[in-house]
Symmetry: C2
Subunit: 169 residues, 2 copies
């Protein structure tokens, strides 16, 4: 099953975390691929230590921050992350793979929409894939089984409140 | 801070779970009040054992299932859960309290909107409250700091796929 959390509101990555939590409770092996550097912060990393046997974190290469001075290095790191994602899904080592913020790679044309859709259509059976990120393509919505749009109704950081420990990270 | 996850899409309770996970990673003490009987299932209950020191689950009374033959018994159980929620928030024992599916109590007029808003406005400082459920009132949105609407774009169970272990429960 492919679950897609998209939209401009908060809660996409948070829901993926909850999904991971529930899966691990059922004894599943979960791999999280983080496509945006530094996105996953202290809270989830610390809590994850409780689950170390069943949880694997794979983060982007150091070079990839969307504001590097060397665009080629960014692209190389992003491509490497995508290859890692595909290998992880094909490895039979995991029951669930979370592709956090994957949609940005498509949006910024690091990988093509077609390449992602083609891969997802031919994925192994019996693996659950959770994808998060804004601006999911229509084809990505089409290939997914469950799609929720997280729509921003109210966002506190716009009112000047700073990110809060244990909530935002 | 009050976070509200509302809307008709999947991911509201899942995001609350992720929020709990992140908070526990930061050493916070979390209490979850479940207003709908049987809503939280095996996956999250099993995973929660890893966090038993920092996590408290409080579930509704047995009588409250929204389809009991004795409506008065339902109302009594729901009122008891609401009193438990208020006591938990006021107790200073928790840094975060999750009120899962609270909105249903308002919707079905078990508690009044005014009562909830009044309590939330006068809550203790330094506690984070996460509220989930469909059809949040405008006043509940108003009193919340961060509000995301989970909007259903695609739902697999409508296509005849049954709830899947580790995903849905």
């Amino acid at each position: 099953m492919i679950i897609l959390y998209t939209g401009n509101g908060k809660g996409k990555t948070t829901a993926a975390l909850g999904q991971m939590y529930r899966a691990i409770g059922q004894g599943m092996r979960v791999c999280i691929i983080q496509f945006i550097k530094g996105k996953w912060k202290t809270g989830e990393m610390l809590a994850s230590q409780s689950f170390s046997n069943n949880l694997t974190f794979k983060t982007m290469g150091e070079g990839f921050t969307w504001n590097s001075k060397d665009i080629n290095k960014d692209i190389e790191a992003a491509r490497f992350a995508w290859e890692t994602a595909k290998d992880s899904i094909n490895s039979s080592k995991y029951d669930m793979v979370i592709l956090d913020e994957l949609t940005y790679l498509i949006k910024y044309k690091i990988i093509t929409n077609e390449e992602v859709i083609e891969f997802l259509k031919n994925r192994p059976n019996n693996i659950h894939i959770i994808i998060t990120g804004r601006d999911a393509s229509n084809e990505l919505i089409e290939v997914s089984d469950l799609v929720t749009e997280m729509k921003e109704i109210k966002h506190p950081y716009k009112s000047g409140i700073e990110a809060i420990k244990g909530i935002e990270y």
